[in-house]
Structure formats: C-alpha cells, structure tokens
Point group: D2
Chain length 356, copies 4
Amino acid sequence: MNPPKTDARRHHDPGVRGFASDNYAGAHPEILAALALANGGHQVAYGEDVYTDHLQQVVRGHFGADAEAFPVFNGTGANVVALQAVTDRWGAVICAESAHINVDECGAPERVGGLKLLTVPTPDGKLTPELIDRQAFGWDDEHRAMPQVVSLAQNTELGTVYTVDEIRAVVDHAHGLGMVVHLDGARLANAAASLDVPMRTLTNAAGVDILSLGGTKNGALFGEAVVVLNRDAVRHMKHLRKLSMQLASKMRFVSVQFEALLAKDLWLRNARHANEMAQRLAEGVRAVHGVEILYPVQANAVFARLPHDVSERLQKRFRFYFWDEAAGDVRWMCSFDTTEDDVDAFVAALKEEMAR
Amino acid sequence: MNPPKTDARRHHDPGVRGFASDNYAGAHPEILAALALANGGHQVAYGEDVYTDHLQQVVRGHFGADAEAFPVFNGTGANVVALQAVTDRWGAVICAESAHINVDECGAPERVGGLKLLTVPTPDGKLTPELIDRQAFGWDDEHRAMPQVVSLAQNTELGTVYTVDEIRAVVDHAHGLGMVVHLDGARLANAAASLDVPMRTLTNAAGVDILSLGGTKNGALFGEAVVVLNRDAVRHMKHLRKLSMQLASKMRFVSVQFEALLAKDLWLRNARHANEMAQRLAEGVRAVHGVEILYPVQANAVFARLPHDVSERLQKRFRFYFWDEAAGDVRWMCSFDTTEDDVDAFVAALKEEMAR
Amino acid sequence: MNPPKTDARRHHDPGVRGFASDNYAGAHPEILAALALANGGHQVAYGEDVYTDHLQQVVRGHFGADAEAFPVFNGTGANVVALQAVTDRWGAVICAESAHINVDECGAPERVGGLKLLTVPTPDGKLTPELIDRQAFGWDDEHRAMPQVVSLAQNTELGTVYTVDEIRAVVDHAHGLGMVVHLDGARLANAAASLDVPMRTLTNAAGVDILSLGGTKNGALFGEAVVVLNRDAVRHMKHLRKLSMQLASKMRFVSVQFEALLAKDLWLRNARHANEMAQRLAEGVRAVHGVEILYPVQANAVFARLPHDVSERLQKRFRFYFWDEAAGDVRWMCSFDTTEDDVDAFVAALKEEMAR
Amino acid sequence: MNPPKTDARRHHDPGVRGFASDNYAGAHPEILAALALANGGHQVAYGEDVYTDHLQQVVRGHFGADAEAFPVFNGTGANVVALQAVTDRWGAVICAESAHINVDECGAPERVGGLKLLTVPTPDGKLTPELIDRQAFGWDDEHRAMPQVVSLAQNTELGTVYTVDEIRAVVDHAHGLGMVVHLDGARLANAAASLDVPMRTLTNAAGVDILSLGGTKNGALFGEAVVVLNRDAVRHMKHLRKLSMQLASKMRFVSVQFEALLAKDLWLRNARHANEMAQRLAEGVRAVHGVEILYPVQANAVFARLPHDVSERLQKRFRFYFWDEAAGDVRWMCSFDTTEDDVDAFVAALKEEMAR
C-alpha cells in the first residue's frame, strides 16, 4: 500500500528509525487501510456515524457492557476532558509528580479545565495508598482544592507497570475516600501486553472509573479515546468534549482506527512487539559496562544513565532524548515498527561509543 | 485505492451522499495517498518533521514570505488558538452574532480562552465598519472587556462571501482603531474560488493579521491550520497551541494533507466544484415555485425557506438540517464529492414534495 | 460620629454630592456604628463568626427559612459566584443584552466562571418569556452552550422595575424549561421600595433560586451577599466563593453591615429615600422643555436625552455620566444621601443651561 | 469610639482573644477612625477618588517614586491579580510547596488566572537560587508551562523571614534567568519590623518587581494592595483587577485604611507589637519541658510540636490550629491586639496541661 521509496514527493526516508519516542513512528499499514475503508460517501459528522457506533461494540467487548468510548484528538485532550468529567469546579486531582498531566501538558489541565493538581513524589512513577494519603485530606476545607480524583498512568512516565494488585489497592483506597479513579492509558496496551492480561483487568475489572485510551502510540495516525467505565461517576462527556475542542467532525476516521486496533489483535501485536524490542534493548544494554538501567523495564521504555559525552555522540547516530540532562539520564523508546536490527545496531553503537 | 464496495468490514455505503454538511463527506483520495506517502520511518514528533517544514514553503507561496502555518486539529481549535494569540487576558473579540465562534463552539472561546465576544447582529453574516463601531469603543474603560480583535468569517456562516473591497474596508477600519483582524477561513477556499482570486488577496494582501485555514471541509481527513500573517501582531503561537490541546504528535500527517491540498490545485478544484454544485442547486431550486432562497448563493451553501412539512418529507430522502426550524429555514451544503446527479435528484425530489 | 469637616486629614469635602452613581456615596452612619460594634476581640475568620451566624437569622426573616447568605466583596463577585453555583462547566446564562454581567464586568463571568452569556436585546432592560425563548433552545446540542440559567436584574440597568407578575412569568417560564433563575439584586431594595412589597415577594416567593443581594448601593461601605433561596438548585457555594477570591477573612465586618441594613428598616429607608429623590428629580426635569425622560422612573435612576452641549456644561457643575454619548443620553442616579436641595439645585441648573 | 461592652446589639465579647490567626483580630481603632474620616459626600467610584490618589504618594514614600498601588479586597485576590500581571497565558510560577498560593487558595491561581505553579519543597518555607533551579528550565519547551515568575512570601507560611541578602540572592538569580519576582507580602510589615529595616529594603531596593501588600493582618478591616514596583515588568493592572473581581466601587474606604497604616507608623507599631508577643510566647514556651519549637521565631508566628492530647485540652481554653495534626504540630499566631497578659495566661495554661 505504501508508495515506492523513490516517490519524488516523499520528503523523508522511510527506512530511518530511532529511539526517541513512540510518537516518532508513523501509522501501522492496517490503520491506513482502515481509513480507506471508512472513506467515501457521506456519514453523519461529530460522532453519529456508523463507525463510531460500531466502535462502541468493540469497546464494550474490551471494557464491559457499561463502557462508552468518546474519541478525541490527542492524549492531553483525553486527559483533560476525562478529568473535567469527574470533578467539580472546585476539584483537585491527586497524581504523581512525574505524571504527564503535571509535567508535559503545558498546564492544560489547569488552564483549560481549571484543575488543581495535588502532586506526590514517587520513587518509580507509581502511586500507592500511602502516597495518595499525603494529599488526600481536607475535603471540607474550602481553602484547599478538594481532592476528587486520583489519576494513575499505566504505564507510568518512567516505563514502569502497575501490577493488577497495585492498581486495585490504589482504586480501593481512592474509592474508600470517596474519590474517583482516572487512568491515563496512553500506553495501556503496552501494560496489558507486559502483564499478559486483557485491558479490562487493568481498568474496569479493577474498579477504574474513567480511562484515557491511547491510539497514537499504539500505531494509529492520530486519535485517543476517553472511555467511560463507571457512568455513575462521570458527568456529561458530550458537551465537555466539544467545549474542550476535542470533537472531530469527520469522526468516522478516528473511530475506524480504533476499530482496526481493537477489533482483532492489532493493539496487542503492536504493543507486544514494542515491549519485546525494549527487552531486547535492555538485555543488550545490560551487557555494556558503565551503562546503568534506571527503572525496571516493564513496557516499551528503557531509562539509562551513561556518560554525557557518550550520549551526545550516540545521538548523532540515533535520535533519542535526555530525560535528566544534569544526571546523564536518557530515555530510549521502542515502538511497533522498531526492528531487531534497529536494536542490535543501536546496542553495537552504544558499545562503540562507550569504548572510545 | 479505495477498497471494493463489497468489503465486508465496511459498515457504510460509499454511494450515499446528502446535503447536510461538507463535514459529512469523507476525504479526497489524494489526501489518503498523501498520508501513505508520509508514512513509514521515524519523523520528529510535534512539528519538527520534514512535512511540516515543507508545508511552510507551500504556505508562504500562498500567503507571502512572512506567513507561518501552525497545523491544529479542528476549526474550533484553530479559532481559539488564533484569538488567544492576538488578545490579552482582558481582550474582547468583535464578531457577527451569527459567527461560528459565537453560536457553534459550545463556549470554547470563553471557556478555554477566557475571551469575551462582543457580537453584532448582521443582515447577511458580514461585518462592516459601521457594524463594528457598535462594539468598538471603551478601550480605556476597565469595566468593559477591551476590543482587541475583529473576527470575520469568509465565507460567513450564511454562505455569503465578502468581496475584496469589503474585507479591506473592515481591516482598514479595525487597524485604524488599533485592533487586529482574524479571519475564520474554515471555507476560505470556497470564497477564493467564488471570487476567482488567490487566497492571499482575501487575507494578507487585504491586511488580515491571522487566519484559521480550513482543511477538513476542503477535502482533508481532519486538520486545520492557524496561519500567522502578521508576526508583529501575534504572540507566541507555540505554547498556545500546546496548552490549547491542539498539538498533534504525529504532525506530519496533518501537514502532508495541507501539502496535498495546497501544493498544486486540489484546494481549488475541491472548492470550485462544491461551489458549482451549489450554483446548480440554487438554479434548480429557483425554478421550484414556493421555495425562497434566503441569501445570495456565493459559495457552497444554499439557504432556503419552504413549508415545514415539505422539508420533513424531503429529509427522509436526503439528509440536511433546519437552520431556523420555527421559520422553516433550511441549509443545503455541497461538498467536493457532490455530483451533478446528486443535485438533480435532490431538485427533482424537492419538486415532487412541493407538489404533493 | 463623623469627624468635623475641618479635620486636616480629610482630603475631601463631605458636603459635595452629585448624580453620577449610588457608588459615589459613602456609607450610612449606622453602618460605621455597626462596624465599631463588631470590632474588638477575636472572632473566627472566614465566616464562622457570630455576626455571620446572626446574619443567617436576619436573612431567613426576609427570604424564608431555607435562605442562606454568603457574604462576598462586590457585585461582580456575587454574580459570578452565584452563576457558577447553578451551572455546569458547559452551561450558559440567558440575560438581557444590557445586563451588568454582560456589559459592565470586563468579561469576569466568561473569564473567571467560564460562563457563556446568551444575550437578548430588550426594549427596557427586562426579559420576558418571549424574549427568553430567543435563546432557550438546543439543550441537547453539544455545539451550543447549554442554557441552564436565566439571570434577571431587579432593578434593571435602565432603572426599570419588574412587577411581581413579570418576575413570576419569567421564573415560571424558565422553570418550565428546566432552567434556574438568578436575580441580580444589586438594587433589590430600591425595587422593593418602589413596589412597596417585601423583598421576599420579588425573590423566593416568586420562585427565584439564587440572589445577588446588594449592600454597597444600599448604604454599606462595601459588601454584597449571595443568598441561596432554593438549595436544591445550587451547588456547593462554600468552595466556589473561596476559589472566586470572594471570601473575606474578617467576615464579621461584612455580615454586621448587612445586619445593620436588614435587621430593622435601614435598607428600606435608604432605598425609599433614593427613589423619592429620583421621583422629585424626574418631576423637575419633566418641567424643563427640551429634555426627554427615556424610561419609566421606577427606582433611583433617571435616564434622559438632552442636547450634548447642555450636558457638558451641566457636568461642570454636577457629576454625572453619559449613557449613550452619541445619542445624547445621560443617567442621573440618586442615593441614600441625596437631599431635596441637591435635586432642586440640579433642576435649577438644568433649566439655566437649557436656557442658554 | 468603640461602643460599651454592654451594648445589647453586640453579639460577642470583645475581651476574648486567642492564638488562632491574625485574621481573628478585628481592626485597629485608628482604622475605624480613618473610615469615618473618609465618609460623607460623594467621591468618584472605582479608584478615582482623592483617598486613592493620596495613597499613591504615601506608597511612593515607602516603595520609591515608581511604585503604584492598586487596592484590592483580599490576599488571594492580590496574589492572583499580581501574578496575572507578570505572566503570559502560557506562564508558570515557581514557588515553595508550602506557599499560600499553592496550599491555601483553593486553586484560585489555577482557576482564575490559568496559572501553573511549579512547586519546590523547602526546609523552612524559603526559596533559594538552588531550589529555584529545580524548576527553572525548559523555557523553549512548549510541553512545559514556561517559568516566568518566582513568587516569594515574606514572611513565609512557616513564620520565617528572609534576610535582605537572601531576598537579593533569589531576585538576582531569577532576573538572571529572565524571570520576574513577585513577593507575597501579606505580612511584609512583620518582616520589616523583625529585621528592623524599611519595607523598601525588602522589596524594590532588593529588586522585587511586584508586591502583594497586606493590610488585613496588619490591623485593617479588610483590604490588600498590589504594589507595582517595576512598571516595565507588569502588564495592565487596571483591567486585570476588574476582571478578577477585585475592584472596589467605594475604593476610598480601602485606600484610607492603607493611608492610616502607612502614612505614619501604625503599620510598624502593629507589626512590631505582634512580633514582640510572639517572642514573649516563644520564650515562655521554651521554658516548658516537652514542647518543641519547630522553626526560628522571626515574626508573629510560633510553630510547636507537643503531645496531641495536650493540644486538644489547650484548644478548649484558647483557640488555635493544628498545622500538621498527624505530627502533633500546631501554630500559634500573635496579632496587633495580643496582650502580654494573653501570652502569659496561655503559657501558664500550656504548663498546666503539659503537667497533667
């Protein structure tokens, strides 16, 4: 389906890949095929099309009979819409200090949603009941933004994966305190693949109330979805999505991508492959003296510490980011299209640069 | 490129079209081809890819050497980002009462941007210097939101098209009062096609400072762009786009669609065709006794008044919307994929229903 | 209680008054006495003091057993807190185009509360069921901000007063459509005095759900109160007041002013006097040839049209404002401290200037 | 001037004081006298009165020829208006985790101002250049809210006082990084009294750009002021104050209170007395075995750790708050009206309860 590499209108070399981000990858070919399938003719705009309708069935298959999906454009949009749907104007969100919503969304939760984030430092990106308790108090104190939601990320920003029991413990604790649980699942597929459980085990079966379900990092062109799991806890998604500027007019093209991912096992194949490449990368790296792997490699990310000058030389050969430049920490991400050869070449290059 | 109509995974009939909205249409096949072209390999996320870079050249070709495009997801997003970029926290936007930003965005300008809209009733959706003056005062009065921008739509929500002179008059008046001009160009291509002028004539050449450039209604899958025309009038688009949740990670797929539309003449072919279909429709309708066309048909929309029961029967055969149900007003939209046969069948049906 | 006029530290002449605004007046001496009474010793801050507690009894005496008062700082604060308390994030407020919340609050409802105002032009500042219907539609349409409240002002910005039946008609209509009713009562005392009814007749007895009750224009130093009349319709005022920056720490000093106004008849004496002065002024003005009174004089405001140069000369002798400078319209306000001599001198001056 | 204690309308005993907060105190009698002085006659509303004009001279005497004061209602209002005036829509504020703006304003900075707070844990409530550096990075990264301001509190929430050198170091560091400095001076008078320096030494002379100047805790009835020190760094306070609902109509009554505080030495007398009472209290407490004082007592607050049951018994005799109930930490505040007898009685009671 892809045009020949030599197409004159093509501005890039489709053979070049790196380890900077799973956002650097393009779309899986089955995604493009799905777009073509949904094209042609007229369909009702703004979500009343047949593809969005079909998506609901697919989503209920994954997340239970009460689940309802609201496709949106991007992850920040999914998070901010979801969090608004479970908070009052005076509500606050307990999250890890390292959470994407806290450090990587330019204040969109605060600015668009008027949300106050109550952050907690964590050793590995994961919240626990004890950590939650550091911010879970003062519901009756009007001087304090009222903690109404706990927001987890699965996987975390640090590439770690909550076990089912860990999620359950957090959810039970939050519910016991009268709070709702949001799960930022931009990479939920990777977590499910890592734990070898269905996505439902990590979400509705564990009591999560509302989910940001990632598509883009799982191989889509673009598109995420807010999945409402507990309708009693969630207010009026419909208008919230629109006023948050996340309502796609030709929504069939978001929905059909999710159908392509979720109806069979594309979501799992993509996630599993990315995870496997990260394992292969971690194994390779562990054999390189002087490079320290920082967190458990449980999904598609490898965080490492190595000499700064080595990283800089290596960056000239493969794209990746510093995570904490002062400390010499870097992040290497694998994606659905990372190949074994990519990983092996990278490890070889790392060895070379470490040896110089 | 499209799969056969009989594909079992296809949930809709690609042969069915109506007159409800240019958003009901899918994407032009050249758009899908462009997505495939941009796919494969890794590209820097969030806009530092080669397709977004190339888009800048294409956009400068249309809008002059100072133009800079910021791809976003949708029209509301484009408008709210653009308006934030030209207002202070205390700023207000003068616009037509019928403007999309006022009536069709669920308050996103107010809620996301904290913008106050100062609206003016208009006979035909168009602002004039005289109409602007009804709200253009009180800059020094802190009790009043400060008028800092005039926002035009070209075409207007009523399907009318500003002439070049009309735009210039509004721009000169606004500039003379120290205000900036934003143009909501969700259907700018249709206006340019209608007037048979380049888009620049209606925008930067007329002094417009910032533009919301439509892609979706012009045949794209999704995607709009804020085009900064006067850099001196515009503040820091980069962070504004992100905090407004309009920053696409795999931006190459937005940019390459715009390249497909703008690099050659796809934008014009699509717009011109939609306009011609609206003219054909208007001609057909004018021949039907008892149906009144409400505004000049200058782009791809036909507004008409007809008996309510006729509309309701007709809606069972072709999708379209009431515009003002109490008055019996309806809106019929043509799009890039409307065919002559579609129009002729619709007019024939209208005749039949009027005759019953 | 007031210091001698000759006090060297006094920067102004307490004998000078004009007709610019009831905000130009100071505080009634009984208000200052009440502040002194509440002073001394320690009282719990932020509203748990005995004066705020006593105020509740006083307010229930006026507005019924369910009423609860939340003192705030100013009128914009009262309105924006009250409107937030009866709207969801996607809610909209139907109000007159001339409403204070629309034209005189620098966009605070939009910016602080994220509220969308759906405005209606009115002949005299008053909403009616028919006028409300021009904006009361589309509750299920996510593209439109959802109309959830009707906000009336009593008196209106144009000095007109709703009759009891007019308020009831609006309230019944709004309730019938599932909307809540807010009353901006910055000058409610003047309306009650004008109609010679208790304030409850115009508010809870008429079905109003939430009230902004004015203190400042009724003779207080500062201070307004949101009075919740229908607790079922109102959400969680406590945090809303705080996050809207309207929570006074030494609240006893706001509450005791309201007690001074409301516990006996100071509110009524002040309002009645201001109204009488406006009647005296209107009578005097009617006798001046060439000056047209624009609206029924029903409270403490007189709007008039006269030659622009006359107004300008008159403004050199007495302070007042143009209302619509282009039209030659002016507003003359009376307050609790306006004297008969003030009015007579003003009318005499008007006659002189008209005769020049 | 105060009415007799036996006044029947008085609901409280003016002889009762505690150690809960300097907000529990009433107003200094000179403040009430000033209100009476400013009363009577008409004065232009909204800040164009002679008292606000005079205040500017007084403020310039304290803070230099460029200073300009904008009276507002309360401390949260002052902070949020000031911070908006020195940030863009994408701006962030670096502050201590314990800062009032972060923990005690119900998210008003986020909700009203759309501000992102970048917080840093501190040992004693004070920021340092090193601590600032933990959040001062990423100005060009659109995924991160842009650090544009450092907000200090003097005194801190923990009762500690920055030395002049400490403030200068922070200011120089912030300026060197292109950031502006805001000082939350709700208790600036106490800090100046503590260090025995003029307030200017801690603010404009140290390079602070914008100040929230406290009145309420310094003995006023209500009222704070934003004081602009560096006009080049500050945008358009006028509209910001109004849209933030902090514009008093009868502003003369806020301004004259500040004149009463600042024109002579009332501000200093009040602050110095409160500080002295805190020293007396600390001395007394230090002599009680088993009670630990937690932070240096540098202003009018004493933080202590003592057995929880002792605190609870003591609270039945004197009002005060737990600061960290789990840890057994309490806060004792002195105010302008705390007497030596109050302190001595409290220490005696503490001794008794510790001895039980």
